[in-house]
Every structure is written in C-alpha cells, then in structure tokens.
C-alpha cells in the first residue's frame, strides 16, 4: 500500500536560512529575557540551537566516528524543567563501546539584568552500566530556574563506524535553529533517507579532511523553526512522523575497489539473501528432519502440509519477543531449546516448508514499532516472516504468535510491504503483503422487555479474523469470573449468567461468546411510556475521536465491520408508539458505511445496525468525515424507541417510523 500521507507532505519541504555561528557559552541576553517562544507560545521549553557534527577520524589504524553535539535549550516554566535532565545512551558489545568526552554544560540565569552562569560539576555526571548492550550517561543541569538557558556540548566517540545515528530534526519541544552536518570519506556512499514532515535538501560539498588525509563529502542540513512533535491517539508509530534523516552505507567506491551494498529493494534483498543465514544455514535440515517426517506422514496435500507445519512450529517453538531478520540461535539451537527470535522461528518455518517440498521463502518486513522504510534499506528491516506460493495463491505465515493463522498475521506485521528473498529461484523483489481481511463482530441480542423497565435475554457474539485474534489474546490469561464482572460494568451494570466462550484456544476460525443477561435499567420509564435504546447496552456512547483536528493518520490496525441485530419482545399491553427512521450513510471514498433499520411487528421490534470501516488507515484529510461518521452513529443510537400502553379499546397505531 502506498503511504500517501508521506508523499503529500514531502511537498511541504521548506525552511531555508542564513547560517549563523553559535559558540558555546556565548548566549544572547535577548534569549535570556524571553518569556515565551513566539512560534509556539505554549511551549514549556525550546531548543534555541542544536548542532550535530559527525565525522571520521583515524588514529593508529583505528577508525572512529565522532559526533560533536551542541545544544542550547531555553526553559520557560517549571513544566519545562524535565528538559534540563539528559540521558545519553552508549552502545557497546563484547570488545568495543561508545564513549562520551568533553562534556561541558552551563546554566545561564538572568540576575539583575545580567547573565550569570553555573557550571555542571564533573561529579554530578553519572555513568552507569545499564545493561549488557549499553551504558548510560546521566546528568541534570544545576541551578535551573524559569527562564534559564542551558548550554550543553559533548563529543560522542563511536567505534561502530558504519552505524551512523540518524539525524533527528524534531523533538517534543520546538526547535528554533538546527544544523546537522556529516563528513563522510569520499567513495563511501551513504544513502540519506528523509522522513517526517520537515525536511530540507542538504548542502553537499567536498573538501579535504587532514585528520584522515582523505577527501570528504560534507552534507549539511539547516533548518529553522521546526515545531514540536505532537502526540496523538491511534497513531501506528509516532517516530514515522518525526522529522529527520537516516543514513545507510550503500556502496564503497574507491580506486581499484567497488562494492555495492543496497541501492534498490532488489539490492537490499540480494544483500540479505547473500548472508550466511539465508544462503547456507536455511537448508541445514538435519536438526529436525526425523521429527518432521513423522508430522508430515499423515498429510497428503501440500496445503495440508503447510497448515500442519505451521501448527507444528507454533506448538513447538516459543518466541522470545525479540525482532530479528537474522538468526539469534540458528536452526539447530532453536530446535534444541525450542525458542528464539522472529528469525529463528520463521526461518525454521521456511526451512521446514521447503523440506516438505513447498515453494517457501522468507519475506523481510519492518514491523509497526520499527517505522516504515520508505526507501531501500537493510537496517530498516527488522523482522522476517514466511511466504508460500501454492497453486497461484499467496500465503503469508508468522509463527511467533499463539493465535496467528495463515494470512492472519500479528498486527505488528502489517506496516508496509515485504521484501522477498527467493534464493532458489534467484528472485529478490518487493511483494505486497496482503492487507488484513475485514474483521467482523456480530452481535445478536434477544431481549424481553418487562413493563417495569427491566429487560432480560441472551446475547450471542461472533468474532472473526483479527477481532477473534485480539479476543483470544486478551482472554487467555483472564479469570473468567473477573472478566464477566468487568463485562457487567462495561455494559452498564447488567447481570450476566451462563457466560460461555467457544473456540478460545484455537487459532483457526472465529470465536463465539454467549451469555444471558438481566438489565435492571433496560428501558427508561417516563410519563407512563417505555423508552428503549436501539442496541440496549451495546450502544456506543462515546465518540473515540474528540479532537477538532488531526495531524497524523488514524491507524485502526485492520478494516472491520460491527453488526448488531437486536430483537425486542414487547411487554403485554404495550404497543410501539414511535421508532426512529432508518438511515444509510457512507463516508466518501468508500471509507465506511453505516446502516440502521427498524422493523416493527405486533409484539416485536427488530433493529439492525451495521457499521464498517473499509481501510485500516485513515488519512488526516478524511479525519473530519471519520469524526462525523462516529458522531452520526452515536446520535442515531441515542434516539429512543417509544412504547406506550394500549388504552382501553383504542390501541394506538404505529406511527412515526418505518
């Protein structure tokens, strides 16, 4: 699916400026006097200036990537104080680690019209070994007041020279001026992938860097007035919209030497396909062949084999909740320990499917929490699933999730397209992941209305696809008694009995939930009449979309349909006085539909309500429609159906509705 949102905003690119030399420790009084930031008067703090400058140095044969950071923050009020505390994460592995040096920081305060500075003491800078993989440096600025300016500078030294941290242009507070520069040795070509709403084209120039004795390419970004990144609900991953640039080495082109890493998605696929994991390890089937033969023996067709192996892998292996496109354990160890990361599990699945003679291959993806990779990148892909082509049909499989099924993947997988690594046929290309099928939730509610306003009856709910998957996932660790008690509260304090759920432990097919209820407040009694809600306690009461404007797309995860059939049996001696009119409504662009129908018979009322959203992602330009759509549903569901007593010998006829 094309990410239209991204494409449209790319046009908004903007913001050039005249560069201005900013030196550490030299602040201007005007900034110190300021009490608000003109471009965002509600900001608690603003980054007045941020400069990031990365370059390579060599020292006795060792190359390092150095990043100089200079950051100047203005604090306006107490809620901005949190920006006076900093944490720098430093990666490490067994043999090398990143370090911080030359950390200097000053707090400036306005005292009697003058700038007075306080220096951050060395003893108030803390270095901690946070885990096996990284260290942390923490400090908080001294003497921070409302109005303070913090000036911070430090140098990051990294031995991991090909992992250039992404440049970030947008933060939780606005940025007034930002400069980001990187000097890369000529011949080392890095792809620069922009993302987010605010972007400028870099100035690119070449120069000679005497420290490494090489020509370098200097890439510099200058931005002014970048607004704060605002949080919104139902966003897939806010980092997708945070402005910045990602770097990735694509080729090394030196005199007498050329190596390409990844230019197109096909290159990316080939690069990954050529790694040992995909090239060799994947076909080492000795780890499981005996066991698998037993599993396969009773399965005649290829489709049966696929389903059987999928189930077998799910049953046997446990996901350790780690992403990964490369093995963490490898086939052998995974199979021995019965656990592994996403690659261990899904590559095992591919290996087994191949062993069984199916046309199975890995498909690389980037999960929702890992941003959308708009441009070809190896690093941007963090996960692998299995893909089978069988009788012209595409099947995608992810065995990490207890309740996933063939072509019903965990929601995290539906972030973007996939990259097919078909080594046997030498096919490396993009594949379109099938979008989630529409999930359906269907309720049938039968209720008997009593003349005291109480109702009782039964509810039968059927859930399919991702609704079923989510329900199973939520329900699996719940205590049923507790769940029912919560359901009673959720449905307006009804009393539930004989609750049951079918097909809960399965991962195939839908789930059915059934219960009996008694609702003390089923109908409202006023002026001798009974007022019923069309959907009884299943009525939607609150619009999930309350804000006036929307900045980022709304991510529903999957398209869905909610369907309700409510059958009321009227109390003796009552007749239908009025019912709301039927309604059919569509959101432009076939985004969604809403249907409302009422059927009246002598002693019964049947209400049919459907609403569906046809796309998993709704773009901001359609937000108003979406909000209005929900508003209409709520308004319609609030309109009562009115029952009145049949007066002696003069039974009122049905009026008002059809």
């Amino acid at each position: 699916m094309l990410h239209r949102f991204f494409i449209t905003i790319m046009g908004v690119c903007s913001l050039a400026l005249g560069a201005q030399e900013v030196k550490f420790g030299e602040i201007n009084l005007e900034d110190l006097n300021a009490t608000e930031y003109i471009n965002d008067t509600e900001a608690n703090a603003v980054i007045l200036y941020k400069k990031v400058n990365s370059y390579f140095i060599t020292n006795g044969g060792n190359s390092r990537l150095v990043t100089e950071v200079h950051e100047r923050i203005k604090i306006f009020n107490k809620d901005g104080f949190e920006h006076a505390t900093k944490e720098i994460s430093l990666y490490k592995n067994r043999s090398s680690e990143e370090t911080v040096s030359k950390l200097k920081a000053l707090t400036f305060n306005l005292i009697d019209g003058k700038a007075v500075e306080t220096e951050l003491d060395k003893e108030n800078i803390f270095k901690t070994e946070a885990s096996y993989y990284y260290n942390k440096v923490n400090f908080t600025m001294p003497n921070v007041q409302e109005g303070s300016i913090l000036d911070i500078t430090y140098r990051l030294n990294s031995p991991f020279i090909w992992n250039i941290d992404s440049f970030v242009f947008q933060y939780e507070i606005p940025v007034k001026q930002l400069v980001a520069e990187i000097r890369t040795p000529k011949g080392f070509n890095f792809k620069k992938t922009p993302k987010g709403e605010f972007f400028v084209y870099p100035k690119v120039s070449t120069a000679t860097d005497h420290r490494i004795g090489m020509d370098v390419v200097k890439t510099a970004y200058h931005l002014n007035n970048v607004p704060a990144l605002k949080e919104e609900k139902y966003v897939d991953n806010i980092d997708n919209y945070r402005s910045g640039v990602l770097f990735e080495l694509v080729s090394v082109d030196l005199p007498g030497y050329f190596r390409s890493y990844s230019q197109s998605w096909a290159d990316v696929a080939k690069t990954i396909g050529n790694t040992d994991d995909y090239k060799n390890e994947l076909d080492k089937t000795r780890a499981f062949d005996d066991e698998l033969d037993a599993v396969l023996s009773g399965l005649p067709s290829k489709k049966d084999k696929m389903d059987g192996i999928f189930k077998y892998v799910k049953d046997q292996l446990t996901w350790n909740e780690m992403d990964g496109k490369y093995f963490f354990n490898g086939l052998k160890k995974t199979w021995k320990e019965k656990k592994g990361n996403a690659a261990d599990i899904n590559l095992s699945l591919v290996a087994m499917l191949r062993y069984a003679g199916l046309n199975a291959n890995p498909v690389l993806i980037s999960t929702k929490d890992n941003r959308v990779p708009y441009f070809p990148t190896v690093d941007g892909l963090n996960y692998v699933i299995a893909y089978v082509k069988l009788d012209g049909t595409d099947y995608f499989l992810d065995a990490t999730h207890e309740f996933s099924d063939v072509n019903i993947l965990p929601i995290r997988d539906y972030n973007w397209r996939g990259i097919l690594i078909n080594n046997p046929d030498k096919v490396w290309r993009i594949v379109d992941l099938k979008q989630p099928k529409k999930a359906v939730k269907m309720f049938v509610l039968d209720a008997i209305v009593h003349d005291d306003g109480t109702t009782d009856g039964t509810v039968k709910a059927r859930l399919s696809n991702h609704f079923a998957m989510n329900f199973r996932e939520e329900f699996k660790n719940l205590d049923e008694e507790e769940y029912v008690a919560d359901l009673e509260v959720k449905y307006g304090n009804i009393e539930i009995s004989e609750h049951s759920v079918q097909k809960l432990k399965d991962f195939k097919g839908g789930v059915t939930e059934e219960f009996k209820f008694y609702d003390e407040e089923g109908a409202e009694m006023m002026n001798g009449k009974l007022f019923l809600k069309p959907l009884e306690f299943l009525t939607m009461e609150e619009n999930p979309f309350k804000t006036e404007k929307r900045q980022y797309p709304v991510d529903f995860g999957f398209p869905f349909k909610n369907s309700f059939m409510v059958n009321y049996t009227l109390p003796e001696g009552y007749t239908v006085e009025s019912v709301p009119e039927g309604l059919r409504m569509k959101i432009p662009g076939d985004l969604g539909t809403f249907t409302y129908m009422v059927k009246v018979t002598a002693s019964k009322l049947n209400i049919l309500v459907n609403y569906e959203i046809n796309q998993s992602i709704v773009y901001p330009e359609n937000y108003d429609f979406l909000k209005e759509f929900y508003k209409q549903i709520i308004t319609k569901e609030a309109e009562p159906l009115v029952l009145s007593k049949i007066t002696n010998g003069n039974s009122q006829s049905t009026t008002g509705g059809r």
Partner: protein, 632 residues
Amino acid sequence: MRFFLYFLICPLFVVAQSQIYPVSKIPDSLLNDADIVVREDFMDVEVFALDKMKITVHRVVTILNEDGDSYGTLSVGYDNDLKIRSVSAKILNEQGEEIDQIKKNDFKDFSAVDGMSLYTDNRVLAYQYLIQDYPVTIVFDYEIDTKDTGVIPSWVFMPGYNASVEQSRYTVKYPNNKLRPTIVERNLGSFILKKRETEGSFAYQAQGLKAMKYESLSPSFAKTAPQLMVHMPNFNYKSVPGSIYTWKDVGLWMNGLLEGQDELSPETISTAKQLVTNAKDTLEKAKLIHAYVQENTRYISVQVGIGGLQPISAIEVDRVKYGDCKGLTNYTMALLKAVGVNSYYVVVQAGRDKVDFYDDFADLGQGNHVILTIPYNGKYYWIDCTSQVHPFGFIGDFTDDRQVLVVKPEGGELMKTEAYLNEDNLQLTNAEVKLFKDGSMDAQLNIKTTGIQYDRRFFIENETKENIERFYKNYWGSIGSLRVEKFAFQNQKDSVLFQETLQVSALDYAAKTNDQIIFAPNVFNNSGYVPKRYRHRKLPFEVQRGYLDEDNYLISYPEGYNVENLPQPVHIQSNFGEYQMTYEATQGGLRLKRKFLLKQGYYPPEEYENYRKFRRQVAKTDNTKIIITTDQ
C-alpha cells in the same frame, strides 16, 4: 514436633532434588485461584557479628500460567557492602525433571535503576527465564554475605495475590543476646504456622496457604498478608553502627545523618533573612521560605551515600538548585533555621495507599519519602518540599492521614499527618444550562474544589489549551460533541481552593424523538460508577478517602417546550454516605440539586453487596432522564 526434627537433620541449605517437585504433588486446594504455587520458600539468616551476616535463600516456584511469568525473573540485588556468594537456578518440567540449569555466569549484571533516579549505587544480578510450557518449576538458590545488619530481611509468607504456598520457612541464628533480633508478627492469625524460639535462634514455618484473589477496593496486599517484621536493635549500616529499640532511637540515629548537613553560606543566610524582613510572624516567615524553595529548586533523585538515607548537604542543594526529597527537605529546614523557624524532618511511606509506621516496631526499613513539618501555635503544618506547586501546608493524597516518623532533636516521634476527611474534599458545581430544540446545549459553569478534590484538579491550571480541552472532553466523555468554549482558573493557594469557570457547548446533548426531547438533567456529574459484582466477596474493602459533591443546575428548556412530569426527589441515607437529588420546576426550566457524600471507611466483605447497591442506586438516579415536549 516433626518440623523441628526435620530442621535438625537437614542442613540450612537444602540441596534441591529435582524429582521431588512434580506438579502432581501439589494439593488441589492450592491450585484454586493460583497463578503460581510456592513449593518451598526458605530463608535462613545467620548473624555472626555486628557487621557480618549470611543469608541463604532457597525458593521453588511452580508457575502455572502466563500471569505468573514475573516469577520467571530471578534477581538478587547487591552493592558495595553486600556480596553475592553464590547464585544458581534449575528449571524443571511438569514431572519435576530438570530441563535447564542456570549458573552464576548466566545472570546479567544491571544497575538497579528505578526509572526515577538519575543515579543509584545499587546493582542487581538478574536472569529472565523465558517460559515455553506451563506448568514449569523454577528452583532458585542464592547466598549472600553482607555487612549491613541494619536491614535484616523481613519475611512475608505469601508473595502476593493469586499465589499459594506449600512450605514457607524463616530462620535466624544469632551469636549472643546483644545481636538478638526483634521479631513482630502480623496477620499470622488464621494461617497454619509453627514457631520455635531457642537461645540463639528463631524459626517459623507455614504450610498450605491458599491463594487469595484480588478484589476491587480491597486493601493493599501488604496490609493483610501474613508476615514477620524483623529488626536488629544493635546493627551496622553502611559502616555506621547503631542501636535502635524505639522510634526515639531511630530519630536519634537519623539525627546523626543530618548533623552538619544544614550549613549554608553567609550569602544565602542573608538572602533568607532579607526575604522575611517584613514577615509578621513565624508562619508568614515559613510561607515565604517555602515559596522561595518552590520557586528556586526542583526535584531530582540521586541515590548515593549511606544507603540513600543521608540527604545531600544544604550547601550543595543551594548551589545546584535541585535535590531529592531528603536534600530538598534538609535544605528547606536549613533556610527556616536561618530565619529562626523551627521545623522537623519527617520520614513517611508515601503513595495514594495510606500506610502507617508501626507503633510497636521501630526500624530503618519503613518509609520511602521525606517531608517536613513546622510546628506553630499547637498545630503542625506539613510540607512536601519536592512539589513546586502544592500550597503551603497542603500535602494532598500522597502523604495524608498516616502515621509518620518526625525526627526531633530529642529523638524520633510517631505522629499522624493531616487528614482530609469526607466533607473536606468538596466539589461544588453551579451551572446554568440552556437546552436547544436541536438537542444541543450551552452551559456556563463554575466548579470549586477543596481538599483531595483540589489535589486532583489544580494541575490543569498549568496545562496547554489543547490539554485542557482534552481533559474536559474526556472528563465529560459521554456528552456528545462537547466543546470547551472558554475556561478560566483561579487557584487560591492560601485557602486551598481551586475554581474553574467554564463555558461549554455540546451539539448532541439530548436525544430527540418527534416532538420530544429526552435528556439527563444531571449534566455534569454523571459518572455512573458502580463497583463490580462479586458472587462471593472474600476480602474486606475500603473507601480510602471520602468526599462531598454538591451540584446546582438551572436548566432552561427551548421555547415552547414543557415537562409533563418531573421525577420524584430521591434521598438515600446509608452507612456509606448520603445522597440527595431534587428537581424543582422553574419558569421555562428546572432546577436540579444534587448532594452526594461518600464516607471514608473500612468494611467487612459482607457489606460489599450493600455498598454496591448504594452506589447502584446513586448511579441510577444520577442518570435519570426527563422528557420535554412542545405543545404545538
């Protein structure tokens, strides 16, 4: 006396033998409501000297389902004075057969960051076992040597809700009477327990403790759990020897940590004096100093030195203008002292849950926070120096109404912090509401809050417009298409009173049918909260803080509309509180008066259904609807 026989034969360190823990051996009664079963939980403490103690732990836990997964994380904390001598674990399958072995090298070393602190000295060795099949049994053993006898571990016989216990044992050995620990038993009453004391040792054992299930509104597990509180009257802590028998002694020991920390520079002293030159009395001086601290410092946690018990010096806080609760409290005390105002350092267990310090058990282990108290004219004013926004003398629900340790020069003393009772926590809402023919409405309203209700509201004053709008849209979430047109706040800190003046509108407030409009006249206080139903309530429940809400709404109908029948007034009087709702017809509309008093209280499980009924009646009445019709 089988238990002690077993004791004598068995060495303190039990060597785990895998095949003795098959899941089939767990009695059925311990499987009910349990996510985990503690098969064996043994702690043996051996005190050798004032600064030498060995602790041996052997814990066997069977995890039955994913809700017990947190027990798959094994960890042991350590620091400079506490060394881990050995640590290992074994993983057993359902039959009790060993499937994995975890050695000391497999454990990872972490900083014990709490997510709050900028820095802490504490570290932890941890291993997380990824569970593949349930049930699984984890045998966890470790031994530690420590110099800190000041924090001898206490013992809880049950680890939490949804956990049952087969065997739990706690023993202490000590060399002489000077090093004899004090043990106070809590909530042991109904549990099967054996205990024995000899010269030089204590031993407790419990068996067959059935799992308890959490029920809403029940008091915290720690309050009801069977436990031993253990303390060494003569001890060593972070190389500081001490002797504590009473709360007075704890105070004296704390004084040792505070001594000399209150020094300030002459400049700061003169600044402080200057601040209060025009102050009429001590209280005003205190208020001025408090305001100065609020203006000039912020809260940052740095846990170093004497086990995180000693505050950073006042001079240092004065210089960097930040500190943790101890540092800021000590700093405020120093400033107050400089202007001749007497104040005390107070140790408290903070949190919404009210936890008292025990009268009968004095030790260093209670409390997690430090506040300040200023005595004046027979009254104590309580101040949390970590808050830059709370009014003077107002501590809110973080440290209210609980027994705390006040550190006075002559020693410690237990006192109760200020309580905000029932009517103190007031919310008074006055509103004028205009209903329109199309079902929309406009309203002007004024909300006054005091006490704990103030504490829950006043923060919005400093929020952005966007967040303020979001707050009200969520707060009145069921009002269709609510818009906040205008808002203004008045925070009267002196009287701890917060006022919100609002203008709101809602396009879809009322429902319509033909010529009728149906709406709930209780526009702004209709939460509908009813506690959930328990078929068999087992635990007591509590209303930790009461409150009083009063609502007066004047609602005008659209022109030409009238009401046929107003609902009957409702008055409910109950042990739990009182509720009143009246409707009165006015010219072209109605006046609604609502009063709801909920009382603070602690009730036995049998009362739960009555409480639910009470809340249900309230919710139902709150949601009463009326119909207006037009005569045309």
